[in-house]
């Protein structure tokens, strides 16, 4: 009796400590989840703070007098004259209208540097296309030089203004007050390919490259993946070959992606002599990489089709293949689609294997076909992120936002499909 009571007492006395332990353990769990979710939040917040300025462009709008004497240009249709003419002079003159204090040669030069280096060629192209505009005054909108752009976008942060002289900073402030320098939505980002200058660079080339690559991946991986899943679930005999195939698929799913890049480099480019940097090769490499994902999810979808449906179809005389083609695949399709979309989203974000097959080249033109040199969104982000210029860092973050938007849309589509179409038996 006494023994039992003392035991009960021991238990009761230890309860407080045990409950404390219990609470502490619970706290650890909450802390772990908090850490994971906080990292996610910090990641997103960081990207957005770094990248929102990437969606803004800085422009300079000027009334430029296209004076033929100033440009040493009499006849804009003459190629020789065009190549010799000075298109910067009218720009500086137009800027001087707003800032009369800059009249020495050095100051003028400084003034001219506010306009991006493509300003002169913009005037040149305008005159080349419309020779009648010579000796008229035109209102033209230029992209500001990258340093000006960075200064304007980060006006409250002195770290970003160091690249402009104090004089230039004063001028920029003055021009901004007069409304000559202005910011607006960065349509350049979505209408051009890469460039050496951040203000002129866009992600359209990379988006189109990604799209072409994904089309190749989808065309290869989806039918092959589904066929493989159907074979393994429905037809494969229980033997060593089937086991071997299954082990292979499971292992391929966990092979580092860069190894697939080595495969593409050695087999597709080295052995078959396919061109480098093209969406076809990129798509094929990514297809091989995504296949295991599609096969594994496809098998799960096929498994979830109840056997009663197969038996019913067989009962009315359908052959095995008819059962599969007419009943199992249509019923498993939502699940297969979901898995495929998730696999494609993964492929869309993949970078490493594409580095090895040369999709990192600097490409200005928007690719026009499957055999054009191209780059893809994540690789473009990598290229910009490796640059030291603030303008490119902004673009990289903006690119990340675009990439994440695509991926979240794809995943949301997959979830919606699953909710909408998947049947539970």
């Amino acid at each position: 009796m006494t023994d039992q009571r003392s035991q009960a007492e021991i238990v009761r006395n230890s309860l407080k400590r045990r409950y404390r332990k219990e609470r502490r353990f619970r706290m650890y769990g909450m802390l772990a989840i908090f850490i994971a979710l906080a990292s996610l939040a910090i990641l997103f917040a960081d990207i957005i703070t770094k990248g929102h300025t990437g969606f803004v462009k800085t422009t300079i709008t000027l009334d430029v007098t296209l004076d033929s004497d100033m440009m040493y240009l009499d006849d804009p249709s003459d190629e020789d004259q065009l190549s010799m003419a000075d298109f910067v002079a009218p720009l500086i003159a137009a800027l001087q209208e707003h800032i009369p204090e800059a009249d020495s040669a050095a100051e003028k030069r400084e003034l001219g540097r506010l306009i991006g280096s493509y300003g002169a060629s913009e005037v040149r192209n305008l005159l080349k296309d419309n020779p009648d505009l010579l000796n008229t005054t035109q209102t033209i909108e230029f992209l500001a030089h990258d340093r000006v752009s960075t200064y304007v976008k980060h006006a409250d942060n002195p770290r970003y203004s160091v690249k402009l002289s104090e004089q230039q900073q004063r001028w920029v402030d003055e021009l901004q007050e007069k409304g000559v320098i202005d910011t607006s939505f960065n349509d350049v980002l979505f209408s051009r390919g890469d460039s050496r200058e951040p203000a002129n660079a866009g992600i359209l080339g990379a988006i189109v490259g990604s799209l072409l690559t994904m089309v190749v991946t989808l065309v290869i991986a989806f039918p092959v993946g589904i066929a493989a899943a159907v074979y393994l679930e429905e037809f494969a005999p229980q033997n060593k070959i089937t086991d071997f195939i299954e082990v292979n698929i499971n292992n391929l799913a966990a092979v580092p992606s860069i190894i697939f890049g080595l495969l593409g480099l050695a087999v597709f480019i080295g052995l078959f002599g396919m061109p480098r940097s093209v969406p076809v090769v990129g798509g094929m490499v990514l297809a091989l990489m995504t296949l295991p994902t599609i096969i594994i999810s496809g098998r799960a979808a096929i498994k979830s089709v109840p056997p009663s449906i197969r038996e019913a179809a067989e009962g009315v005389g359908a052959s095995k293949m008819q059962v599969v083609l007419h009943h199992v695949i249509p019923l498993a399709m939502p699940g297969m689609l979901t898995g495929s979309i998730i696999g494609m989203a993964q492929a869309l974000g993949e970078t490493a294997p594409l580095l090895l097959i040369g999709m990192v080249a600097f490409i200005v033109d928007v690719p026009g076909g499957f055999f054009d040199s191209a780059t893809v969104l994540p690789v473009q982000i990598y290229l910009w992120a490796s640059s030291s210029e603030q303008g490119f860092i902004e673009l990289a973050s903006a690119g990340i936002m675009v990439l994440l938007t695509f991926m979240i849309t794809m995943n949301a589509l997959a979830i919606w499909l699953r909710k909408r179409l998947e049947r539970r038996w």
Partner: protein, 462 residues
């Protein structure tokens, strides 16, 4: 004709063959008194014709397109005068690129030796001929395949069985593609690795402690040999992976425990997808985050404490990689924790144990093998991860255990050695394939062991 144009053409032919065979099968059936007197539905005769048309033609097309480039290159090289035959593969690729540039009109023929111009015209005619022959052959095969199937539309032949057997074989080939991929990987790394070990002894590769693959252009330059010791790369990889696991294992495991044992339904249904989101974010985004936010932050933090940190530290890469693999650890542990039978849980709780005691003393030991399997999979993921370390870990091969210094990893070296133009023949390029092989073997071993543990464990409770 271009491959890109031939492909749709073959498909159109297949559709035509389908239509023709369909009509013929009905025509054959009509005098017999309707399609019920055929051995199979008209659809199967038609489908068989389409398959006969498309499959052989596509095989011919793929084979031709695959080997055309290499064969033409061989012929072009052979057409050069004997005294300018290239001696090495590097020289050959240089000459070939000159020739193709001349042929494409990118290089002015006046700037190159005469034999190159001659070879360029050979290349042009060969390209034209190859295109023509390819188109002719593919179309011939497609049409004769369709014609053969058309003649075999007969009420005595069961086309359904033919079609189904063919389809089943196609399905099998698709499944076997996984084996082919593995074989391709092994083949691509092994050949180059053997060539690499022909130049650098395998003992140097495995046991030497210095890595500097920059081979000099001239043989008499200092350090012209290059050093290919994999140890600093391996320690770098292990250091970063260890940091990553130190973050991911506790965070992932504890979140899995909390979500499966404590969290309410509502919390679980919102927290779990958010956790999974961490796994869906592209690695290049993590790399960006590690290189531009975490690394500078760590450096500043270290400086305020009086430590010296490199701008590309192993710590930054490892921390961010750890966050990336949290969902792997948590979802795998979640699976195994849920697989522990409810009766064990109930038994422990009925004896008066608290939830945390049940977790620590009953469920965790029971789930341990599965959890270890999950951790091994996460480790293989960390070792093979490329973009985070390329962007945040650096290139210098330091043999160090200090997480604040910059280290380099196997994947970083593969990527840097193979990005951009490379001669296919130098030890530098080949070493990347040797590293790839090493990486493949290590991750494969980890995966095989992990999968085995996980599977064995699953069987135990099923």
């Amino acid at each position: 004709m271009q491959t890109a144009n031939l492909l749709p053409l073959v498909l159109v032919l297949a559709v035509v063959a389908y239509g023709l065979a369909y009509m013929r099968s009905r025509a054959v059936a009509a005098p017999l008194g309707g399609i019920r007197n055929l051995k199979a539905l008209p659809f199967y005769y038609a489908a068989r014709a389409a398959l006969w048309c498309a499959i052989p033609a596509l095989i011919v097309l793929a084979a031709w397109a695959g080997f055309e480039g290499k064969v033409i290159q061989g012929i072009v090289i052979a057409s050069l005068p004997q005294d300018v035959w290239p001696e090495s593969a590097g020289e050959a690729s240089l000459i070939l690129s000159q020739i193709s540039n001349v042929a494409a009109g990118k290089l002015n023929p006046e700037f190159v030796p005469e034999h190159i111009v001659g070879a360029a015209s050979v290349l042009e005619t060969m390209d034209d001929q190859s295109e023509n022959f390819k188109a002719a052959l593919v179309l011939l095969v497609a049409v004769s395949g369709a014609a053969f199937a058309w003649t075999r539309v007969s009420p005595h032949i069961n086309a359904r069985i033919n079609v189904e057997t063919t389809l089943r074989r196609i399905f099998f080939v698709c499944a076997a593609l996984a084996v082919l991929t593995t074989a391709g990987i092994v083949f691509s790394v092994i050949l180059e690795t053997i060539r690499f070990f022909g130049r650098v002894p395998i003992s140097d590769f495995l046991f030497s402690t210095s890595w500097s693959p920059q081979t000099a252009l001239r043989a008499d330059q200092v350090g012209s040999e290059g050093a290919f010791g994999v140890i600093p790369l391996f320690t770098g990889t292990l250091l970063i992976s260890a940091i990553a696991l130190l973050v991911a294992v506790p965070v992932g495991l504890l979140s899995a425990i909390y979500l499966s044992e404590y969290a309410s339904r509502r919390v679980r249904s919102s927290a779990k997808p958010l956790l999974e989101m961490l796994a869906g974010i592209p690695t290049v985004v993590y790399g960006f985050f590690a290189a531009l936010t975490v690394a500078p932050f760590i450096r500043e933090l270290a400086e305020t404490v009086g430590l010296e940190a490199s701008s590309q530290s192993a710590l930054a890469a490892g921390l961010v990689m750890g966050i990336m693999i949290v969902p792997f650890v948590s979802s795998l542990s979640d699976d195994v924790i849920n697989a522990v039978p409810q009766s064990m849980r109930d038994g422990s709780l009925a004896l008066g144990a608290t939830q945390s005691e049940t977790m620590k003393k009953v469920i965790f030991p029971a789930a341990l093998p599965g959890i270890i399997g999950g951790i091994l999979l996460a480790a293989s993921r960390a070792i093979g991860e490329t973009m985070i370390v390329v962007m945040a870990a650096g290139l210098a091969a330091n043999l160090t255990a200090n997480p604040l210094e910059s280290v380099t990893t196997v994947t970083v070296q593969i990527a840097t050695l193979l990005v951009g133009d490379q001669e296919f023949d130098s030890a530098k390029t080949l070493s990347a394939f040797a590293l790839g092989m090493l990486l493949f073997i290590v991750t494969l071993l980890l995966n095989v062991v992990a999968l085995k543990i996980v599977r064995k464990y699953r069987e135990q409770y099923d």
